[in-house]
Amino acid sequence: MRPDDEAEFVSLVESCSGRLLRAAWLMTGSAAAAEDLVQSTFEKVYVAWRRIDRAAAVAYAKRVLLNEHIDTTRKRSRERLVSEPPEMGWLDQEPSSAAYLVAALRQLTPREREVVVMRHYADMSESDVAASLGVSVGTVKSTSSRALARLRSVLAAEGDSHVR
């Protein structure tokens, strides 16, 4: 890649990595997983840089992020500890709005979570989300409605339980 193209790519990374990281965190619930996902996303964007319309580079990066998340969650993999289980104990922290948002999002199916986050946080178009998920626009709309209703009900229940 030429130096000026690379500079443009670095500028894209600097300008939109924050938003992509947050979207990835909302989908995965883990900062480490979010960083892995976004790193992988940008590497793939780099490979495709020559043929990307610069005006649509951010939209392209969002599509790659969603595709990466789909590939990651659809694979059957299991984390293994590097050593025997530890003898340890720890206390739960007080619930925070971030913790119960993440927990609430985990109540959705992976597809519902992808639709909610990428449509309503990352502002992906319905057609782009549909193309990545391999479904119709109508299915994206109905998945979104169902997921939002479920999220409202989960958040309402969590909010009640944390009233002091």
Partner: protein, 347 residues
């Protein structure tokens, strides 16, 4: 969509996360080269395009900046092809590691008249040197190291040289996945005063999560932490003078010394503790962890147990600690506590 949900998605506090644009560029270049390599023959020219990042740290332990600050800047970035031949001659200190599959690394130290040393590092494939990098730095004394990343052919490689005769080493990878752990090989160099090493980082995650290097020289563990976005990393020096790299993420925590590495998936609390068995990564039983707040208190059910507690530099409001028994083992159950939490480790 309701405003409350949109507000939550936008505004709920998220953990600190960051992407290094330079790492994204390096990763992208690797993917481009892997795709191109799939279309070339095995007869690769010696003058290959090289992109490497050389990270060098001084020999003095130091407190680290908090996680999330700017990652270390490459000291000797190398770009474009290096066509110079690998140096040879009586003044050159050389060493190499060859693996059974024909891959390996070759390192050379070339002294200069100004007292500096040129460190040459290249990958080997069936006797030919590729991905040659070089950098200029002060001599590498015992307790110090010089290394660079590289590896356009096959797995990612972390290769370099330790000062002194090193018997064992470990790479600190901030991951609880077994598949991310690095294998490292050491080999004495021609002068007997330096040791070449080659660490294979098996996955992209491992490559991006290297948070330090530790090795054993003159019977002591020496460790060099590397800043990494999204990871708390700190150096802890025990009373016996052994150094360990301790790391923590929202997925787990671990420790690395010259004896090896351990990592565990953990939750997040005011006090996080892991008990270790002899040799992993401490010499003897012990415990390590992170505490938010005042120093820990340690007690044992056996009155004859004695121990030392050592702390590292705090990161994001948490302080790493290592508990080491005097004499190598604990006979009783150990309880580690602070003002709000308590953990008991059975013997």
């Amino acid at each position: 969509m309701s405003d409350e949900i949109r507000d939550l998605l936008e505004l709920a506090p998220a953990p600190r996360m960051a992407i290094d644009p330079y790492a994204a560029v390096l990763g992208g270049r690797r993917r481009v080269r892997r795709r191109r390599a799939g279309f070339t023959s095995l007869g690769i020219a010696a003058a290959a395009a090289v992109t490497a990042v050389a990270l060098q740290l001084g020999g003095v332990p130091h407190a680290l900046a908090p996680a999330g600050s700017t990652p270390p800047t490459p000291i000797v970035p190398t770009s474009g092809p290096i066509t110079e031949p690998f140096p040879s001659g009586s003044a050159i200190v050389g060493g190499e590691i060859r693996h059974a599959d024909g891959t390996g690394v070759r390192i050379a130290l070339q002294p200069r008249e100004d007292g500096q040393v040129v460190v040459w590092a290249g990958l080997l494939e069936h006797g030919e040197v590729y991905d040659l990098t070089k950098g200029v730095r002060p001599p590498v004394p015992p307790g110090d190291a010089s290394w660079s990343y590289g590896g356009t052919h096959g797995p990612r490689s972390l290769r370099g040289v330790f000062g002194g005769a090193v018997s064992s080493a470990a790479v600190a990878v901030a991951s609880v996945r077994d598949s991310d752990q690095a294998a490292i090989t050491v080999q004495p160099m021609s002068d007997g005063k330096h040791t070449v090493f080659d660490a294979v980082l098996p996955t992209d995650a491992a490559f991006h999560r290297v948070v330090g290097l530790a090795w054993t020289v003159n019977g002591r563990s020496v460790a060099k932490p590397v800043l990494s976005p999204g990871t708390g990393v700190s150096l802890v020096t025990t009373a016996a003078g052994d150094e360990l790299v301790l790391w923590r993420t929202d997925r787990g925590m671990g420790a690395t010394s010259g004896s090896g590495s351990v990592g565990f998936a953990t939750g997040s609390g005011q006090l996080e503790v892991v008990g270790t068995r002899a040799g992993r990564p401490l010499t003897g039983d012990g415990a390590f962890g992170w505490v938010a707040g005042p120093p820990i208190k340690v007690s044992s059910t056996d009155d004859t147990d004695r121990w030392t507690v050592s702390y590292g530099g705090p990161v994001d409001g948490r302080t790493p600690f290592v508990v080491v028994p005097v004499g190598g083992t604990f006979r009783g159950s150990l309880t580690i506590s602070n003002e709000s939490a308590s953990v008991t480790l059975a013997p």
